[in-house]
Subunit: 199 residues, 2 copies
């Protein structure tokens, strides 16, 4: 049992790292198994298809990221400070990943949205759920900021969507320039998008 | 000569449409030639490699998009109106493309940035040039708006970058939801990012 479970984790870790480096389409099951150090039979023991592997990679990544986002966005700091912390955490995470593999790999969900959403409806649906969950979390904080008079924006849903869109766009630039410093304007841009009042 | 030139155009058109549908990595030269209706030998007559084809597709798309952006952004309307027109033009172009192929294909440059920038330095460099050119064009308009007192933002470069990042992020959502209506908040978000003063 222990070894079986190890094999699944190894496949997921290898797939995640290969998808981050080269995208999903270019990968084959044999390559993933070689990188994971498991026999090809193991793959089909755990996953029906490459698509079900992609969903598992996405779910695992979101479970971890959701924990990080929740810790920051449901923290004790003032609402806008929590958003600032979210951007700092994102920049730090991208920087740590860059130190490990040499390049900024960007947002796994953004990468797969642009690569895959028109090719597999199952992946598209899962990515929609994840982005809606991110927007829900940001919107709660925006609504709190608005109640305190720290933000003047009227449509909190659209504002939260704009903040997540700005995050995806700046992460795209960080990947393009292989430079996580590109994420530093996120905080000022978020303040502008929310009509922030405090300094 | 006429037929040779046709073959190159056919390869470029087929490659562009296949890249938009399925990304670059999953494509093979044989498939591109079949879709273009040209013998495989023709491909290597015009292109050294798949990478040089990618660069040609990017260049051709940018030449066309730059014409569209220039027409709008160097037009006679008030500066902020020109930015609004740019977003309307983007939404209309994505909608027309969606009518043709059934799905929102998004921004070719954004798609290739997330898929390829860590895999080929030549493509990364070309995409950097294109995004810098887009930001230059937007920044000129932002600076004009600021001179007229229509925008209050202080760092026009960073503001222009934020506008292009917002565009990429919202195009990502339009692709994810296969819905070009997702682009309609661009104008209000742009106004917020620029600290626009006029209604």
């Amino acid at each position: 049992m222990g070894r079986t479970s190890d094999a699944k984790e190894k496949i997921l870790a290898a797939a995640r790292s290969l998808i981050e480096a080269r995208g999903y389409s270019a990968l084959g099951v044999a390559e993933i198994c070689t990188a994971a150090g498991v026999p090809k039979g193991s793959f089909y023991h755990f996953f029906d298809s490459k698509e079900s592997l992609a969903l598992a990679v996405v779910d695992e990544h979101w479970a971890a990221q959701k924990r990080d986002w929740t810790r920051v966005l449901e923290g004790d700091a003032a609402p806008l400070d929590r958003l600032r912390q979210l951007f700092e955490q994102t920049e730090a995470a991208q920087h740590t990943a860059q130190q490990g593999c040499g390049t900024v790999s960007g947002c796994l969900f953004g990468n797969l949205t642009l690569e895959l959403s028109n090719q597999t409806e199952a992946v598209r649906a899962r990515l929609q759920e994840i982005f809606e969950a991110q927007i829900d979390m940001v919107e709660s904080v925006v609504a709190e900021a608005r109640e305190r008079g720290d933000a003047t924006v009227t449509d909190t849903r659209e504002a939260a969507r704009a903040v997540v869109a700005q995050l995806e766009g700046q992460v795209l630039f960080a990947k393009l320039y292989n430079n996580t410093g590109r994420l530093s304007p996120l905080w000022q841009n978020c303040r502008a998008l929310l009509g922030a009042t405090a300094a």
